[in-house]
């Protein structure tokens, strides 16, 4: 029976005007997004290669000067523009994408200037995620808002239920058909987009992409299901399809437009953090304290002779400063991460926000990718430091007084750049992607079930005449 209902509903959707318009619109937007991505990505890659070339050249030159020079100079590692950004851009151009490090510490992160134009109001890339979050959620509502109330008005609902078909099956069929119709439209868009990217793109597509596309389709199905459930709810709550439409649109406005755009307010209101000025003040205070308590002569400089006793004093002081500053700043970064993650959790009441967080995980980008690179960079920095310490230990002309900011009291011999361990961003594994997003997935499934269940209860009590 379910199959009959599903077939009927699917055909009903397929032949409808809304399906045709949606299909045309979605294909057009997917195509525009793909073309736009191909061009921007090529330009971004070029800028990235240029900057990366400079970065390597600079490090090579430092290595030629001395291993210490290479170890103490701060470098900025830039994350490579993601080749599957067309799937979910995850607001990467507004997120930090550069990590500042040396052998001694991972200092900070920055949004490298130039990744976003400050004169252009912040906007979404036309990625698959954007299209689905905006259009697919809307279309899912359009397919369902009059599913019950509309049929009641056209008097077919009573006729349908005159057959041996349960109300649960009928409602389930409507939900399933809406999800399938939306997914079909998305699939058409996805194929169009992939075609354009394969033909015109500056890079080929990776093997992992197939899995990512499947993941994307699954998550989009979940989004469509959630909004379809909302649509059904609107449809059984209201007496006329007119009102259910307005209810559905109100849902949509609140969940797809208002809540995702209120996050900054939520973050600052619910989870305030210290200001950067306060943190800077704390660092300055600790520095002043360290300098005051340092043995006299700690600040005296003379780089000619590495074995001057003041170099040891200064090296000790600089190490203490590094540790103190690292302690304060790392704690501050943790509050930033917490503020961001908690805000996300609050905005997860909106299925559209949920969808964005889930596609970010599917595509392995955005905040998740940054966090992984940030953690990996810490591991790498330890390796880099032990490499440097081994080099220094082997140098008999070095006094081995470790100083994270100066080049005077450790090895002054050059090192072959090829031997120096390099940081390479590691691919996002399945566990890394799923781990932090599991809670979002569960929330989404819960919301979908709860809304559908409510719609079901109301439909059971619905007067179909």
């Amino acid at each position: 029976m379910f199959r009959t209902v599903l077939r009927r509903e699917l055909l009903h959707n397929l032949y409808s005007l809304r399906f045709l318009i949606s299909l045309a619109l979605v294909i057009a937007v997917f195509a525009a997004g793909a073309v736009s991505f191909v061009r921007s990505h090529a330009a971004n890659l070029e800028k990235y290669r240029e900057t990366r070339g400079q970065y390597l050249e600079n490090m090579r030159a430092l290595a030629g000067q001395s291993a210490t020079e290479l170890a103490v100079q701060r470098q900025t590692y830039i994350l490579r523009p993601r080749s599957n950004g067309f799937m979910a851009e995850a607001k990467e151009k507004y997120l930090p994408n550069g990590i500042v490090y040396s052998a001694w510490n991972v200092f900070s992160f920055q949004n490298r200037s130039g990744s976003a134009n400050p004169f252009l109001k912040r906007f979404d890339e036309l990625s698959w995620t954007f299209v689905a979050a905006l259009i697919m959620s809307f279309i899912a509502l359009l397919f369902t808002f009059d599913a019950v109330s509309g049929e009641k008005e056209s008097k077919t609902l009573a006729l349908s239920l005159a057959n041996p078909v349960s109300r649960g099956v009928l409602l389930g069929g409507k939900l399933a058909s809406a999800v399938l119709s939306v997914t079909a439209i998305v699939l058409a868009g996805v194929l169009t987009s992939l075609l354009i990217i394969v033909v015109l793109g500056p890079e080929g597509v990776s093997a992992a992409l197939a899995g990512e596309v499947l993941g994307y389709l699954a998550v989009t199905g979940l989004l469509a299901g959630t909004f379809a459930a909302f649509g059904l709810l609107a449809s059984v709550v209201a007496r006329g399809s007119n009102i259910s439409l307005l209810l559905a649109l109100s849902f949509w406005l609140v969940f797809a437009v208002v809540i995702p755009n209120s996050s900054t307010f939520v973050a600052k209101g619910l989870y305030p953090i210290d200001s950067t000025e306060t943190v800077q003040k704390n660092v300055t205070a600790v520095f002043a304290d360290l300098s005051k308590n340092a043995p006299p002569g700690s600040w005296m400089m003379n780089s000619g002779n590495p074995f001057l006793p003041q170099h040891e004093l200064r090296a000790n002081l600089q190490m203490k400063r590094l540790r103190a500053e690292k302690g304060i700043r790392d704690a501050y970064y943790q509050t930033m991460f917490r503020q961001f993650e908690r805000t996300r959790l609050v905005t997860a009441v909106s299925p559209v926000s949920l969808f964005e967080y889930l596609t970010e995980a599917v595509a392995g980008g955005g905040y998740l990718r940054f966090r992984k690179a940030w953690e990996d960079m810490h591991v790498y920095q330890e390796q880099f430091l032990s490499f440097f310490k081994a080099l220094d230990a082997a140098d008999k002309d070095s006094p081995h007084w470790f100083n994270p900011n100066e080049n005077v009291s450790t090895t002054r011999k050059p090192v072959a750049f090829e031997k120096v361990p390099q940081f390479e961003e590691r691919p996002m594994t399945f566990a890394v992607r799923v781990g932090p997003t599991l809670k979002y997935l569960l929330i989404n499934i819960f919301v979908l079930s709860a809304v559908y269940f409510l719609a079901f209860i109301l439909f059971v009590r619905y007067d179909v005449r």
Binding site: V29, K47, L246, L253
Partner: protein, 535 residues
Amino acid sequence: MIATIVRKDFLTNLLSARFVIGFVLCLVLIPFSILINISNYRDRTTQYRLDRDAAEKATAEVRVYSVLRPEIVLPPEPLSVFGKGVTDQVGNRVRIWLGDKPLLAAGKTAAGDNPFLASFFSIDFVDIAAIIFSLLALIFSYDAFTREKEDGTLKLQMSNALSRSTALAGKLLGILLTLLPVLVFSFLLGGLLVLFSRDISFSAGEWGRIALLFAASLVYLAVFVFIGLLVSTRSRSSVTSLVVCLFLWVFLVFLVPAVSANIAESFFGVASRDNLDRVLRDIDKERAAAISAAFKAQGIPEGWNCWRCSSGEDGFMETYGNPRDEFEKFRRRASLSEPIRIDYADRKWAPEKAYLDSLSRQARAAERLSFLSPTGIFRAVAAAVCRTDLASHERHMDRTRQYREAFIAWLRGKDIFASYRWITPAEPATFKTEDELVGMRTGGEFKTVREYEDWASRQKDARARWVKLSQVKVPGDSPDDFPYLDISDMPRFEVREGAFLSGLEPSAFWVGIMLIAAVLLFYVGYVAFIRYDVR
């Protein structure tokens, strides 16, 4: 007759559920957006006061001219609680350097202290208005004729002695009359929230601009009503009309702006910032070489030796307690280097301007493309009315550059680069020779530098040499011996509001275009209705 139709439509609409739901939407979303932005404005004002006080303190507490680098802090725009425009992204602090013209403003953006928050977008009154007003306009007009046709009342109505134009005009006025209260109510609500908030107050000119925003919203609303009517007269059934209208809505309100920004991003690329930084670094190197060459030509040695110096970027140099010759050397150095520094700022400006132009070209392209939709026009006009658009920001930045010229002219007017006041507050009459200084500092133990150096060369401990020279404190050895500079005649940057209507000429043009579009839509709708089969 027309009054009867208007009254009937008005009442039908007023009593309908859509009116209630639309009204409730406005009731919830408008205060929400205004309150969020008032709180945002409050944070910005707090930050502005901190920054401004810090900047004023830094400017007031200088003892030599070389340290003077005024910082301009632009106050937040009160009208930004209605439309934020680009103010969230562009920063509001500009420091005046000798070696660089102001390029981009610094300062906290919407993300505040946490850069990750920059990935969360935000929404304001103008965004909500653009979304809700267009939606309501379409919701009330999509079935203007189709519904009545389906109910069979349209032909009944037309069987009276009623011309079609009267029927159309009545319908139109009925819809507009229904929407007008919603619009007025939304603005009143927004206005009241501002009025009763302790964190913000508007001047008369600002209320006037809100009135302009209201007028622009009215035109915007009308355009969507006409779109809805047109679709309604061209559709056979209400459902078709509805589907078409909703898709048009999503397309015009959400897709066109996003697509325009994407097209602008990929087809109007911006110059690479990293590349600009490299070019500027190279020019800085050239400048350093030019300064060295000038020193060489004048026979000034490169290094220096001073009693108490603090120096830094952009030629900043403050020094105390030096012998006369050293002071003279510093003076001559600055008199050569600072004019060169200023000249090189002009040279740097060419690549900087090219970079800025590429940013603004991209932003303008996105805006122009978005004018394909009334929403794009409305947003741009609203930002201009709220003085938060890119053009307003660029005017501010131009004025900071003009201020820099005025500041430099003021410095030059004092011939300050060739003056000792550039590097030290000490009076030239009080300068001593090196021998005199050594004598004074060691309490007469050594008569000449030579004597002291003979003694010093026999000392193993570097600290002992230093301690010997610190035995007697000579007046003028430290900054605390001098008062702060009197800079009351320094030109000040004034935040000018401009005339009431200034900067609105392009907006007036585009509102005019929207009006013309509205009239055209109305005409096409009218023709379609004349030919409409009312049965």
